[in-house]
């Protein structure tokens, strides 16, 4: 994707070895991050995250669905990522398929806990990306049982859709940060109420009252409230830190140019308590086990900083929203 001459590659590698990257950052320094919330009013939660020149949007939509047979007491979460051709002509048509899949799977692995249900690759019309519908569990993030409305009958399905608008490396971390913010902030949420009009609300998922029919076969009648909302604690959603290994060293928040030089990259998701919630490795080169352990401790440290940066960004964005209203 990024074509660099031997001289430039050498320069980038040298910069990483000397702890002074091309834009003046140190190895473990992030680019400035900015957060916008509520960019998609039609969604139940949405956020736009910019990390340098990388720009992503995540929308979270909640729909009523039926729990799976295997897990009648849990809701479902599905994560999809799409790369828009507005980010580059290379993403036109099927060009983005591979990257979209990689990001979707990476995000699922990092944000969702262990899969305790079946994973079914679902074929998608016109094949923009491969979707994985998984009955997964937010062991580290959302408690999936909080998404249940009536056990075995009705639950909330959360659809987490990521969209890459501009790409300059480190997409996974940016997407994960956006998911976190979109979940956390249910400030500016629009839910389709009974009149079919958009209603703004401060909270997340609309409250649902269910009246069950006399026989168990009956479809339960569902009444979606337009005033009461259900809020679940999502502050536990982990952040993702990708450590990209270039030469002997590894860096965080690699730009596209730096990513082209990577031998391998490890994405770690770390929650507020400093626990690792998921890990995924990309790239062809092998890693020494001790390096992996080292990476984990570094990632924990970086994640702590990133979490606090995100928290303050969220607070700032919240304050801005309050000012406007």
């Amino acid at each position: 994707m990024v074509g660099l001459s031997a001289g430039e590659k050498h320069f980038i590698c040298g910069g990483i070895a000397q702890d002074l990257r091309s834009d003046g950052r140190q190895r473990l320094q992030f680019r400035p991050i900015s957060v916008l919330i509520g960019v998609i009013p039609q969604a139940n939660g949405s956020a736009q995250v910019r990390l340098g020149a990388t720009d992503v949007i995540v929308s979270v939509k909640a729909e009523l669905g039926k729990p799976t047979l295997l897990q009648p007491d849990k809701g479902k979460v599905a994560i999809y990522v799409d790369c828009s051709p507005t980010a580059g002509p290379a993403f036109e048509g099927r060009g983005s398929e591979e990257l979209s899949t990689e990001l979707s799977v990476g995000l699922q692995r990092c944000l969702l806990g262990d899969k305790s249900g079946a994973v079914q690759p679902t074929p998608v019309p016109n094949g923009i990306f491969l979707a994985y519908e998984c009955a997964t569990e937010f062991r580290a993030g959302i408690d999936l049982s909080s998404l249940i409305v009536v056990e075995g009958k009705v639950c909330w399905d959360l659809y987490v859709d990521g969209l890459v608008i501009s790409s300059d490396g480190n997409l996974l971390d940016a997407l994960a940060a956006a998911v976190k913010v979109a979940h956390l902030l249910r400030m500016f949420i629009c839910c389709t109420d009974i009149d079919g009009l958009a209603a703004l609300s401060n909270t997340g998922i609309p409250k649902v009252s269910v009246s069950l029919g006399p026989s168990p076969e009956d479809q339960p009648e569902v009444d979606v409230s337009d005033e009461e909302f259900l809020q679940f604690d999502t502050s536990g959603i982990p952040v993702v830190v990708t450590l990209t290994k270039v030469g002997r060293h590894y860096i965080v928040d690699a730009t596209a140019e730096e990513e082209s030089q990577m031998s391998s990259a490890v994405s770690l998701s770390v929650n507020r308590n400093g626990h690792i919630c998921g890990l995924t490795k990309r790239g062809g080169a092998g890693l020494d086990p001790s390096v992996v352990l080292d990476m984990i401790s570094v990632a924990k440290h970086v994640a702590k900083n990133l979490t606090s940066v995100l928290d303050s960004e969220i607070a700032a964005a919240e304050a801005a929203e309050d000012d406007e209203s």
Binding site: G3, L4, S5, A6, G7, E8, H10, F11, I12, C13, G14, G15, A17, Q18, L20, R21, S22, D23, G24, R25, Q26, Q29, P32, S34, R50, G52, A53, D168
Partner: protein, 318 residues
Amino acid sequence: MRELRVLLNQTQKVRLQAALQHLRDLSFQASSPAIPVTIADTIPVNREDGILKGHGTLEFNGQVVATQCGVVEQVNKLVYVRALKARYKPEVGDIIIGRVNEIAPKRWRIEINFSQDAVLMLQSMNLPDGIQRRRTAVDELNMRSIFEENDVVCAEVRGFQHDGSLHLQARSQKYGKLERGQLLTVPAYLVKRRKQHFHHLEQYGVDLILGCNGFIWVGEHVVLGENEMPEDQESRMENQEQNFTPLKVRQQICRIANSVRLLSAHGFSLSLEIILDTAEASVSSNVEINDMLGAEFYVQTAEREVQRRASLLKKSRR
């Protein structure tokens, strides 16, 4: 172009607005206020003198209208629109920097931010041994040893061929492959054509090349003529660690590069003086290299530019 996105707090926003307003006022005070036009705007011309319609203009219903957004410029009878964000338009003699896209028979195709690739013929290229002679078939086979795909190359615009393709030449020691540094891309209009595009910043040990096409090279200084023959790959790999750009020089490179990034984010045209000014200002106010791209220095740069232009204006009035 990697645009900077800067997050400003309230006071910084106010300061920036004030500075930008000031700049606007200053440009109006300057000798000839530029007329901004958008597409299909009528360009006011004095018909009696007879005019020549230049780039970005069109005759419609007896009037001259613009076909792109920009600023109206007039040189004698020629009226044209100078576009702000359009691609680079080459002129003969321009010094440009490009990236090799493809190696074709007897030529390299080079991406130079023009609507088509430029062509550098093997014969318009000084051979590494510096001897003037006919190019042989062997030379043709060894083309990849001169420039490979993705190499960054500095050259001069030779001219358009009859088929509309753009040809380059690199008939001097100062042209050729650029290594050990970073390439920045800025909008082409920010680089004005000048006498000197190669700058050796002796105090920093840095080479700065301002390509007319908006590609800017900031790299370690290379001594002309001391073209060490490329060692074989293996020994190069071994030496790689020792061979890195020294940290001191790298710091300077990054500082200059960030100055360029910052200025281009502001849309200030790039000249050696202003780039050095910015870099020096960052040193004197103890701004870390990375923080140069932060909000505070961003605003300061705008304010400094106001002062600079104001003093320029005073001088020209005297």
